[in-house]
Symmetry: C2
Subunit: 469 residues, 2 copies
């Protein structure tokens, strides 16, 4: 259990001591996908970084006025409180590096919990505001992913007369595999009214368009779209929530939360040693997912390539999110054989109905005793299969969600689908292929978003720097 194995075993983390000042840089190995131990000594800077901007600190300190702010900003250098977060608790996952060629949280082994958030920029914000926000977010993310508070003075090391920089609920918790992944929506480049608010319309990826309508979808505006997104994943939900909450605070006056989603019990695996999890229909999900060690598949299907446009997105990806409500009670009353026909796999083991084991390739030509195809031609596994879709694959990273229940006493639950791909066309093609999916009777797409996910940042820089270079 992540909480139990990582509970506050260390309380005096010297790297948090304020003698390093409020602006300490945090760096890490440059591979965003591989867990790497973090040096326990004072982090060293390859390039000096500014820490949080004045605006970022304003967000943290808002409400106390300029005097309070000045005290808050300066106090980190004076207070000597040696309470910090546990960075190397026995048994805890090593933190994942924040800096690297790719952002973490894509090929990173899927963590147990998700807090996803979509943001809109505030009216009258400038290009400089946007850049500063991304710098602040990157700085804070570089710290939190290492199990540190959002700033050096953090939750309890600042002035008693200022609001703490960090909200504190993750004090004593290790990083718990936290990854923080940022994305840019179509409306960031060109607003709904057509304006180029940040002078970046000309650099927008040509492929980054609001997704086309799909048959049967019923999208709710409060779970759709957004100028920016943040995917926070961790093995402890409190750590993921802490990340979104503090990044939201930092955005104060510049961007505001548009919608958000908590998820649990990952529905896909991204490494071979992860067992295939089950979705809320009780079936294994993600058996044929792209795995982190399949470099050729990642290069072909997930990462924007060096030759792709725009150049600043090389090493990045496109993230599609779909909130897919499951009509749980209806599904639960479908007979097992029908559930398996719809899915195209057996429920017990996840093997294709053409035979074999979970990892056996489905044989769509195989027939059953009746002479009909063993795998129904409208089954989910067939319609979504690369073999039927010109070899298209995507990297899925979804989570189950339960948002309580409806007024009718039914579970308000489903799949928060997250997928990374080199081009939005991959998702669009697959989703269109699924238009006759037998599963459609039991699901409904109610939320949607697409974001260009920049490559990882170089230590000392910030996510998305290439867009503004």
């Amino acid at each position: 259990m992540s909480r139990k194995s990582s509970e506050r075993s260390g309380r005096s983390d010297s790297s948090l001591r304020s003698s390093q000042g409020d602006r300490e840089p945090v760096t890490g190995p440059d591979d965003g996908a591989v867990p790497a131990p973090v040096a326990e000594s004072v982090p060293h800077a390859e390039t000096p970084r500014p820490g949080l901007s004045r605006r970022g600190l304003l967000g943290l300190a808002a409400g106390v006025g300029a005097a309070g702010l000045a005290v808050g900003a300066g106090a980190g250098a004076a207070a000597g409180v040696a309470v910090g977060r546990s960075r190397a608790a026995a048994g805890a996952t090593s933190p994942y590096a924040f800096y690297g060629p790719h952002q973490a949280g894509i090929t990173t082994p899927v963590q147990d919990h998700l807090h996803f958030a979509s943001f809109d920029m505030m009216p009258r914000t400038t290009r400089e505001d946007l850049i500063e926000l991304l710098q602040d977010w990157s700085y804070a993310a570089s710290r939190m992913t290492q199990g540190l508070d959002v700033s050096a003075s953090g939750a309890v090391g600042g002035s008693p007369e200022a609001p703490p920089d960090d909200t504190g609920e993750a004090l004593g918790l290790a990083a718990n595999g936290l990854t923080i992944t940022f994305g840019f929506g179509p409306t960031l480049f060109t607003a709904a009214d057509g304006t180029d608010r940040y002078g970046i319309a000309g650099r927008a990826p040509a492929l980054l368009k609001t997704l086309p309508p799909f048959l049967g979808e019923d999208l709710a505006p409060d779970h759709t779209g957004g100028d920016l997104c943040i995917q926070a994943c961790a093995d402890d939900p409190q750590v993921a929530v802490h990340a979104i909450r503090n990044l939201s605070r930092i955005a104060f006056g510049r961007a505001r939360l548009r919608w958000s989603q908590l998820g649990f019990g990952k529905t896909s695996k991204t490494t071979a040693d992860q067992a295939t999890p089950r979705n809320l229909f009780g079936f294994k999900d993600g058996t044929a997912n792209i795995l982190a060690d399949d470099q050729a598949a990642l290069d072909q299907h997930v990462w924007v390539g060096d030759g792709d446009e725009p150049a600043w997105l090389a090493g990045g990806s496109y993230l599609v999110a779909r909130k897919i409500a499951m009509l749980i009670e209806t599904w639960d009353r479908v007979r097992l054989s029908e559930q398996e026909r719809i899915t195209g796999r057996d429920k017990a083991h996840g093997a294709p109905l053409s035979g074999g084991q979970e990892q056996t390739d489905p044989d769509f030509a195989a027939t059953g005793t009746s002479g009909k195809p063993a795998i129904d031609t409208h089954s989910h596994v067939r319609l979504a299969h690369p073999e039927l879709n010109d070899g298209i694959r995507i990297l899925r990273r979804g989570y189950n969600y339960v948002d309580g229940n409806t007024d009718l006493g039914r579970l308000d639950a489903g799949l928060f689908f997250l997928a990374y791909q080199r081009s939005p066309e991959q998702f669009i093609t697959l989703q269109r292929a699924l238009s006759t999916d037998l599963l459609n009777e039991y699901i409904r797409h109610i939320g949607s978003g697409i974001w260009a996910v920049p490559p990882g940042a170089v230590a000392g820089s910030y996510v998305g720097a290439g867009l503004f270079a």
Copy 2:
């Protein structure tokens, strides 16, 4: 990590084989509070138990008609699918016994995740319906808490031509410390219109009344009340959700979900070896909680005693649930010294402001350099302290919740407060004492419920049997 340490290491659990038929009894050691290993061989019955009733099976099979039902009910004895849930995965917590003098889930070490559900009985249900529902729920809970499917044929062992008894999303997951705790609300005994639907009005605990109004509360009907409640706690959220989902299915036609709540990151500890967790205000919560090994305190403050009324509730308790919204963004802008004054403890370590460490008793007479009390007279810790409340204590077992965000872009989050006490008067007295709590500016009670929690069931019987004896 609970998921990782317990992932489907065993897939052929002989106790699930259908040769035992569909009605196998499940028994366990009779101490609901202590984890105990479960025999891996065929469970033995101290008293034959009936398994799920026809109505319970109807709930599971609803939608396929009587013919389908008959097939479904009988098929468990014929199908030989040897897929089941992992009961003894390496490193997993041993299951907690379901049967015993007290229900599990009260003094059980607080698990990481909660799914709480409130139910109302359906119109025109009879006393026999209620009894049968409680029998079915107990039977299913006795299985699921041991890491088993809801019935012997379970998710994949039944007839292919019937809906599976179990919804399947917990296949391959161990029990993960699952406890399932049942409670009876005031309206179960006497409906809102005054009727005695089940012939139990005369046996209602005199103390079991809808809670009185409290200053400043703003209760939402869709998070308040309920004839019955189920608290499911586990170290894996998918396991807790699976339990509520399947118990809700079993209730089909007899009771329906009224409201529910997911929670994470427990806000209290119930054993000394658990570190004190933090709530979403960033403070340690539950430092002075009643612990499971403090038998004298449990007998005095938590368990209904042998001499208390009614006799059928002896060994039980009263559960109070309060959904407490936290005005997160407002709190986050309060300066640290003020946060600590409001709470009465320091944020870093949880020590009372009168000095010492977390476990040091607060000294309400101590004064600071200004001559004022070191602990503010209206601080939360003082107003809630037994010393100021005639020694009253309660056993808290709450969880943090985040239900996404509000339309204003603020976190819709707070504390789902759960407390067990020997008498509802304990909570009422404390809550009234908190009417001048400085914390009230930052919280709002928006949901509420009270339930009498019967003692644990004897193996072979069901929770609440004493009420109908």
